[in-house]
C-alpha cells in the first residue's frame, strides 16, 4: 500500500538507486544528448530525499509536494520541470491521503502523464519518458488491483528498452535525427527505475533489473 511512510521509503530508495545508476544514465545521455541525465537525477532526488527526511510530511500529497518543489529547485534541464510536474500532479491527486488506494493510485499516474504531456508536448513514440508513462497508465486502466501493481514494472521496463530502436522527435536527442536510433532514451530508463522503486516500496518483491547491462 502506498502510504506516507512507504512513499518516503520509495523516495529514499529511488535516490539511492539513482546514485548507483548515475554513470549509466550519464552514458546513455552522452550517446544521444549532453551526458547529464544521471547527474541531474541523482542531484535532484538526493535533494528531495533530504528535504523529505528533514520535514516529514503528514500525508502522501504533502510528501509529493515537498519532492516536487525539491526537484524544481535542484534539477534544471528538461528532466527537472518534467519530474517536478509528475510529483506536483501526484500532490494534487493524493492531497490529504495517508494511504492511496488502487483507484487513486491510477488517477495519480494519469494526472502525472497528463501533466507531462502538457509541459513537454511530446507524443508517444517520440523517444521520451512519455514512452514509459503512457503504457504504464494504460496498464493501470486495465489492472486495478494493488497486488498486481507488479504488472506496471514489467510494462515500464519493456517500454523503456523499446525506446532503443526509435528516432527521437523531442528533447535534445531529436537533433541527432536517425543517429538517435540504437540507444535507449535516458529519461525512459530513469522512469522505469522510478516504477521499480515505487512499486517495491508499495507492495514489495520487485526484482531490480540490471540496467547497466540491459540499457547500455
Amino acid at each position: 500500500m502506498l502510504t506516507t511512510e512507504t512513499f518516503a521509503t520509495f523516495i529514499a530508495n529511488y535516490a539511492r538507486r539513482l546514485a548507483d545508476l548515475q554513470e549509466t544514465l550519464n552514458t546513455l545521455d552522452n550517446n544521444i544528448g549532453d551526458g547529464d541525465h544521471g547527474t541531474n537525477m541523482a542531484r535532484g532526488f538526493k535533494a528531495a530525499a533530504e528535504q523529505l527526511a528533514a520535514k516529514p510530511a503528514t500525508d502522501v500529497g504533502g510528501a509529493c509536494n515537498t519532492v516536487g518543489m525539491a526537484l524544481l529547485g535542484s534539477v534544471g534541464g528538461a528532466s527537472g520541470p518534467l519530474y517536478a510536474t509528475v510529483f506536483m500532479r501526484f500532490a494534487t491527486a493524493w492531497k490529504g491521503m495517508t494511504s492511496v488506494d488502487a483507484t487513486n493510485f491510477a488517477a495519480g499516474i494519469a494526472a502525472a502523464l497528463e501533466g507531462l504531456q502538457t509541459r513537454g508536448k511530446a507524443d508517444v513514440g517520440d523517444k521520451t519518458m512519455i514512452d514509459v508513462w503512457h503504457p504504464v497508465n494504460q496498464t493501470l486502466q486495465n489492472v486495478r488491483e494493488t497486488t498486481t501493481l507488479q504488472a506496471i514494472v514489467e510494462t515500464a521496463d519493456t517500454a523503456a528498452l523499446a525506446t532503443k530502436q526509435r528516432i527521437a522527435k523531442k528533447g535534445r536527442a531529436a537533433y541527432l535525427g536517425e543517429r538517435s536510433a540504437g540507444h535507449c532514451d535516458p529519461g525512459s530508463i530513469s522512469s522505469a527505475v522510478l516504477f521499480e522503486e515505487l512499486v517495491d516500496a508499495t507492495i514489495g518483491g520487485v526484482e531490480r533489473k540490471p540496467w547497466p547491462k540491459l540499457a547500455l
Binding site: 554513470e23 552514458t27 552522452n30 549532453d34 551526458g35 534544471g76 527537472g80 535534445r172
Partner: protein, 328 residues
Amino acid sequence: MKKLLNQVETYVDDLLEGMVAAHSALRRIPGTQVLVRAAKGNKVALVSGGGSGHEPAHGGYVGSGMLDGAVAGEVFTAPTPDQILAAIQAVDSGAGVLLVIKNYTGDILNFEMAAELASAEGIQVEQVVVDDDVAVDGSTYTVGRRGIAGTVFVHKIAGAAAEAGQPLAVVKAIAERVIANVHSMGMALCPCTVPASGQPSFQLADDEIEIGIGIHGEPGTHREPLRAASEIVDTLFEHIWASAGLASGDKVAVLLNGLGATPQSELYIANRRLRALLTARNLDVHKTFVGEFMTSLEMAGFSISILKLDEELKRLLDAPANTPAWKS
C-alpha cells in the same frame, strides 16, 4: 579527466565567484547562480542564461548595452525556475523583462515556468526563443532548430534597443527580427568532457569530424572525414546559405565562434575562406567578430553565424556596449 578545477560539485560556484572577482561591474545575487549588473538600469531588462560551460556566455554579456542578468545552471544543464525568477525580480525596474532563451527543451521549460511565476507577481515578462542553428532542419523535427552562437547577436542588438529606452514590445520585436535573420552552424574536431561525467562526450577517430554540432557536447548531425579548413568552411556555409535567404548586395555581420579549444589562428584561417565565399556571393560584410563567444567547455571546433542586417540592426549592433566579453 584533466581539468583546472577544485571539486566537480563546486565548479559553477567557483567560476561565478572568480567572474565576479574579475569584473567589478557584475554582482552575484547572494545564494543564487545569477549575475546582474552592479548598477540596476531604469529600462527594459534582458535576462538570458542556460547551462554553464559556455563561458563567456552568459555572465560575460551582462553590462551596459547588453544583458541585465544571466542565470547559470549546472554545466550544460538549464537553470532551475527559482534561479531564473530571482534574476527577473532583481533586474525588473517596472519596465518589464525580456527573456532570451535558446531553443532547447530544458531551457524552454525552466524559463517558461519562471515566466509564469514572475507574471503571477505582476512583472511584465516577454520571451524570445533563439533557433539559429541550420544544422537541424526545423521542419523535420517538431522541436525546431537549436539556439547556438547567434544568440550573442540577440543579446547585443536587443540590449542596445533596451539601453536606448525602447519599450518591451519594441525590444522584443527587434530581438525577433535578429532571430529571423541570424543563421549558424558548427562543427567539432574533438569532443569535450563534462566535469560531472568525467568522460568525453563522444569519440571521434583521428580523421573524423562532427558536423552540425550543438553547444552541449552532444554529437552533431553526422560525421565526415577531416579535410582542409577551407572545405569545412564551404560545407558549413552551404548549409547556412541554403537557409538564410541572403541575396546579392545584402549587408551582413559575421561571428566566427571558437568552441573552446580552437586556437584563434585557426579561427582566422577559417575566416579567410568565409570572407572569400561571402565576397563571391556579393555580400557586404559590415563587421566580423572572431573569438570565443559561446563555447562548449574545451571542445575543439567552431561555428559560423551570419546575421543579415538592416539599417536599424546595424546601428544597434554598432552601438556602445561595455561588458566583460563584448566592448564596442
